[in-house]
Point group: C2
Chain length 850, copies 2
């Protein structure tokens, strides 16, 4: 964190001696815990401490007490109460351990916030060095080399591009194209997780840099610069100062914003093509023969009633508006756009991989191996309990269920529960959906009704989202994963599945199941089951309305409500708790130390919610792109705001997060990859089953007499003999249209009443079905092949980076060889004997420390 701070340099809050800098702060309550505990987020504190604890357990001596339960698990296990004495004892022990590790501590109990004590921690230079070595951190060596970018032409083009995009770059020094780069070599000492806690501390955080306040010391890590060049809406059109973000917040958060930036950037072409596709739909709406035929006043087709008894016959002309609107989203350009978006997704993944590789190189992470195994305290507790149980051979029934059952059956059981819950969610959502539709009247103002339904659906989604988040957390806790990483991954995966199912079930139902569940029903209940059908021109338009409202609504509500208003309210409440009015508050604020101020900021709760939101959005953009070409545009607009919103939050609203090292975005990449694979299949089905694309093609090439679309509408309608209505289902007002109806038409491919097998599915139905399925197979495999091809075509490591890595290796070898030669000559001058004698032993490596 403070690796760049030269030793002794005064920069920010210090210990009382005015020399040692405060790197990290722990808070605890001096008086009764109940009253103060609410002040700080239990969750974040415990999380940080837990992670600290596991690292330290690496070097714990056998004499140390077994790890204690942290608050979350404690809630499950009868809520053990620590006595004040016990707590004090544990705290002392913990702080002794910290000192043992070489850290320096200073306590501050008489500060301006009553009831809260601070432990300020300073990590001396040698401790930092030691940790850096363990982490194999790469450090720049004295050697500097010139970076040459390919040939002259390439260099010129790059320079030109850079000049053109000059105004888009943030005004941060590090952003200029670097022609000189220091050689880096693994060295490494940095402390990521520091120490061991026992649930006696209420919060743990590093400090925001002081330059934020003083302005006297404009360091590279100035949050002021970050605020001006990053966290402001006025710079929305600029690139983000990723290097600076990473320096201030660490790799993990830097990677998140880099990813978000790339995603937003990639959305620009997608949004442009989407708008073009939509405009194409608008432009061709008047040339569309099927909707022209429907709207033609000469067309005199009598349609069968849409519901039993209450509805009557109607004229196909009435569906004119819907048919024209449908064309906007259901035209050949949509097919092109789906393929485009599938390739776009592949390109995006590739682009990100390259960007990540480049960042890894620039940030000197290339050699860094992920630290994986921080055992979770809960897991160790469980293992310990089991061992104890075994040793005592006691037959007493354990209180918590998971401890009794064997690991495997426990695991299986949980998997099944998760699956059942997901399945339940799907069923529940579909039934809600069906109920909503059942009660709606089939009429011409369908769109309005559907709109309302979509809004209700949206509200349900948002509420259930929170519920499912808690559910996923609970399920993951039950599983007791072994390590922190696996805990996080399992939690993310579960949350993702639940939230994803929650958001997409109604859309999937609308796209694929609506009005199709009667496929193999017998003809006699033809009309009773067909009530929940789409308007004449396919379900695509309804799907579009649903998607549009879900996307816009979700983004608006989540952005505004959850990300702006709620944190504000939370902050207010935190302040209110300390019982002061605003004027008093401000005066008071000015007198506070940096570490006291940071205490009032919100805790950092991890990047998962941010990623999750973006991934669900990515799903919306790719999964149903065939039905809603404007989705990328909406996503783009949202993200431009989102970046600056998140930036503001990180710089001003939250305590500074612990800088965590990361090489990649972890499980999120896999989720994205999975989504883009599913998207191909979903789009194939949307095009072939939800849109009228295939029936139109089949009509044109197999049935049309003159190769045009004329007669297509007639072709899609089957005949029904009105004398064959089931008893009680015939319309009450059969003369509604002013004439008696003998044959009415309905949208399906079935045999006419006068065939040998009336109302059976016709040959056309099977032919079209075969074509639809063939299209799915072809589309899926061709697009998957193309994606793989894109994947294979674009190298994962950018050419210039691989060239530089190669060059660095050569230089490093050269440097070492030169040194070696110099030494050899020196040695030869001294003594000219025993050339075979081993000069190097493995053990010498061990003793050479920095």
């Amino acid at each position: 964190i403070s690796d760049e701070a030269a030793p002794g340099q005064k920069q920010g809050p210090t210990f009382k001696d005015g020399r040692r800098r405060v790197d990290y702060v722990l808070t605890y309550h001096i008086q009764k815990p109940q009253s103060v505990r609410r002040n700080t987020s239990r969750f974040s504190g415990s999380r940080v401490l837990r992670s600290l604890r596991q690292t330290l357990s690496l070097s714990k001596s056998p004499a140390m007490p077994p790890p204690k339960i942290d608050p979350e698990i404690a809630a499950q296990e009868h809520r053990l109460d620590y006595h004040e004495d016990d707590k004090r004892f544990r705290q002392n022990e913990f702080e002794d351990n910290l000192r043992e590790m070489g850290l320096e501590l200073e306590k501050d109990e008489g500060n301006k916030i009553p009831g809260i004590g601070f432990v300020k921690i300073h990590a001396p230079w040698n401790v930092l060095c030691r940790e850096a070595e363990f982490m194999k951190l790469k450090m720049p060596t004295r050697k500097v080399y010139e970076v040459k970018q390919g040939s002259n032409l390439v260099e010129k083009i790059n320079l030109f591009i850079h000049k053109v995009t000059e105004p888009l770059h943030p005004k941060v020094e590090s952003n200029k194209p670097q022609n000189v780069k220091p050689l880096s070599y693994p060295f490494s000492r940095e402390k990521q997780h520091l120490l061991l806690g026992n649930g006696v501390y209420t919060a743990a955080y590093p400090l925001h840099d002081i330059a934020w306040e003083g302005f006297d010391n404009i360091s590279l890590l100035s949050p002021q610069l970050l605020y001006e060049e990053w966290a402001s809406y006025s710079v929305f059109y600029k690139y983000q100062p990723i290097g600076l973000i990473r320096k201030y917040f660490g790799d993990k958060i830097g990677l998140y914003f880099a990813w978000l930036g790339i995603y937003t950037q990639m959305l620009i072409p997608a949004a442009i093509v989407g708008v073009i596709v939509f405009l194409y739909g608008c432009a061709t709406v008047d040339d569309n023969i099927p909707s022209m035929e429907i709207c033609d006043p000469r067309n005199n087709i009598t349609m069968c009633p849409m519901c039993d008894r209450a509805c009557s016959y109607w004229k196909l002309r009435e569906a004119c508006g819907t048919a024209r609107a449908s064309h906007l989203f259901d035209n050949p350009a949509t097919v092109f756009f789906s393929i485009f978006m599938a390739l776009w997704a592949a390109m995006f993944m590739e682009h990100w991989k390259r960007r990540q590789m480049r960042l890894n190189y620039i940030w000197d992470l290339t050699g860094f191996e992920e630290e994986e195994d921080h055992r979770r305290a809960e897991y160790e507790l469980r293992v310990m309990k089991k061992t104890l149980k075994k040793q005592h051979k006691s037959t007493q029934v354990c209180l918590s269920l998971p401890l009794i059952t064997s690991w495997w059956s426990h695991h299986c059981c949980l998997k099944i529960v998760t699956f059942a819950i997901v399945f339940g969610v799907i069923l529940y959502r579909i039934s809600i959906r069906a109920a909503l539709h059942m009660s709606s009247n089939p009429s011409n103002i369908r769109a309005t009704v559907k709109g309302t339904a979509a809004v209700i659906n949206l509200i349900v989604i948002i509420i259930m989202d929170e519920v499912y988040g808690a559910l996923a957390r609970w399920l993951t806790l039950l599983e007791i994963p072994k390590t922190d990483k696996s805990f996080e991954e399992r939690l993310i995966f579960k949350t993702f599945v639940l939230k994803f199912v929650n958001a997409f079930t109604p859309i999937v139902y609308l796209a694929f199941f609506r009005g199709r569940l009667d496929l193999f029903y017998f003809p006699d209940d033809l009309f009773t089951t067909k009530r929940d059908t789409c308007a004449h021109a396919g379900c695509l338009m309804e799907l579009c309305i649903q998607l549009c409202i879900t996307m816009l609504g979700k983004q608006l509500i989540q952005n505004n409500l959850f990300e702006i208003i709620i944190p504000k309210i939370k902050k207010l409440i935190r302040r209110r708790k300390s019982d002061m009015d605003s004027q008093q508050q401000e005066d008071y604020n000015l007198t506070l130390q940096r570490y006291e101020k940071d205490h009032f900021l919100g805790p950092f709760e991890g990047l998962s919610p941010e990623y999750m939101e973006m991934i669900i959005q990515f799903g919306m953009v790719t999964l149903f792109v065939a039905s809603f070409p404007l989705a990328p545009l909406f996503a783009l607009l949202n993200n431009i705001i989102e970046i600056r919103l998140d930036a503001k939050k990180f710089v001003t609203e939250l305590r500074r997060p612990i800088a965590a090292r990361a090489k990649d975005i972890g499980i999120w990449y896999n989720l994205l990859r999975g989504l883009s694979k599913v998207a191909v299949i979903v789009n194939a089905f949307v095009i072939s089953f939800t849109s009228d694309f295939i029936p139109r093609l089949v009509y044109q090439y197999m049935y049309s007499s003159d190769g045009s679309m004329h007669g297509f509408v007639n072709h899609t309608l089957s005949y029904f003999n009105v004398t064959e209505f089931q008893p009680g289902t015939a319309p009450l007002q059969p003369l509604h249209l002013g004439y008696e109806v003998e044959l009415c038409r309905y949208k399906d491919y079935r045999e006419p009443p006068w065939s040998n097998t009336p109302y059976d599915l016709s040959k056309e139905f099977w032919a079209i079905l075969a074509c639809r399925l063939a299209f799915v197979i072809v589309f899926q495999n061709v697009v998957m092949l193309m994606s793989d091809f894109v994947d294979w075509l674009i190298p994962d490591i950018p050419k210039d980076i691989s060239m530089q890595i190669h060059k660095e290796k050569i230089l490093m070898v050269e440097l070492f060889m030169k040194e070696e030669k110099g030494k050899k000559r020196l040695r030869e001058n001294h003594s000219n004997q025993s050339p075979v004698q081993p000069r190097c032993r493995p053990s010498s490596q061990e003793t050479s420390n920095c």
Copy 2:
């Protein structure tokens, strides 16, 4: 290579001083090059030298001459002739460079092989150390820790399994379960590629170990042990001594044999299930209603003639034998087996990944980063030429085409050529195929004819394989890839595509296109186009014959002819060249030094042919498994022989290959992965289109009156009115069956002559087609999902290995911390001041060498 040899220990051939061991040998010809050059393989020598050269180019000084062309590229470029003087000069310069690198050389021109000079190279301990450090080789430290395998129960089970499989393990010490493992830490010095050559040397190889001859020194690296416990047919049932193989031949070859072992091992369950499926087919052949109906003597169906004029009507009963035989391969168990094999492939990939991880851990390769960039000399030459051209701005036309065209267009052009060739191969094979079929008489002895065709096809495949190998090589050379690695990968990929297409085109044609090309033809040429159709019971049986012959034949011929006989002949020819009879030869042999003997062995030509053979076999096993459930059995039998055959070759027939480091099997893994993905799709199509599985299901559930298969045969046959034969196509002998035929039947789903649209595709056709396509979609996606699930379920790193890695990390940190503390205390005792003073600087790392 000789890293394990303690300095000064006498072991194997040495320099004349009897102390320094010969690690590597270069050969050159002393007299006229033309006469001797044929003695040694130009290819292998140049390849090794090239690789040596590039490594050394890492540290080349600016004064060095530009890299010279190696023989292969030289052939393209006017075959530059070196004068003898020039050669001698270059050789001296090269040897000076070697000495500069710290190696020790000894020349031996007066040996027993006339005309050939040897340069013996010894790498002293300090050079090995330096290289080991560059390669970050992990070395065991003094610290040793105990490996504990999970709980008591797991340990007991492992012990039990080990006891049971005791006889299966080779009698090699390292094979016992190790409870103690030394901690390893990156240290590393080993020379993989040694030096720089200019085409003046004819061969370069390390030596086989001496223990092979003397028996007096049974070292761990004894080839004698390898020969007894590995390269012998009598130990075919045992595991391979992988550790020993790796120690003697290096990581790359060790990984190949480990992979081959895993593959063979995994084939055992596949073979067993395959045999069960086949036996199930045999057992149920008498209960199969469709074939019973065909064979029923009461059945009196008259079939239409199979060809124009010459053929006449025939009775369906005649197809009885074929129908029964088809059932063996075309029954519901086949579908199960396809799914099983798709999952098997996924399991195999996972299993291998885990095994690879385990080997990486055991061989201490976990931290090792692949050395990627050895620029190829050809590429550097090309770049140099280009630069020269630019500098001189000369307008002279360059002789070689690739140098004129720009890189990109050149690249594109080559891609197109490759594609065109692949396409040409496909077309050519299909047309050959069609020609063969056209001339064959449709009769009852179909199987025999098909068998002959398959044999001819096999011979064509084997001959073309060699041609395509050369073609791929030529194409890759044209591309001038940048690095050795990319050269190898491109060559492998091209060879793979060509050989794969070559091997599988006829099978694909047979499976999917035979008799289907007339799908949308008009009914009037129904019978002229349907001549190349399969026997009544589907094409599956013919496919099976083809596969069976291709697999068995290819394996037999490749194993026996190419791998046993041809190397023997080559060796004989090499010996014959030196003009001695056999007795003289043997006496002479005994007097030869080890390095002279090795000179007579065949050069090692890389692992590509071995891998390629196995991958094509893997394709046979997975791609068409639905049509030939015995494929895994054949593959298993072949591989058991193959392992020992390869082992023999490596131990006794070839010069010892240069030990190359490798973490994985590289591009082969990707090819395997690609194949197992393609296999899912191919199997889906084979089941739904080649077999009668779907039509049977559809008949049973949609058309059958009683839900049984009775009447299925009748359902699949359409009617033809014999009065509607095209002029000149009616049979010459219409009364062949003894009665006049009015309506004959043929196998297709078409409307009868008396319908409104006679001979049009019927509704049943479309319904079955839809079901077939639906099955493909469901099968493909379900199996892919299941494969991904298997992939996700099985962790890539085995649990015990990840636990050990975790433990090692903790121990390493503990060790270092302890040392640190000791030092700190020491320091504190000495001086108690300035704790902030930096004790460690990045630059200190540079100067600390081993």
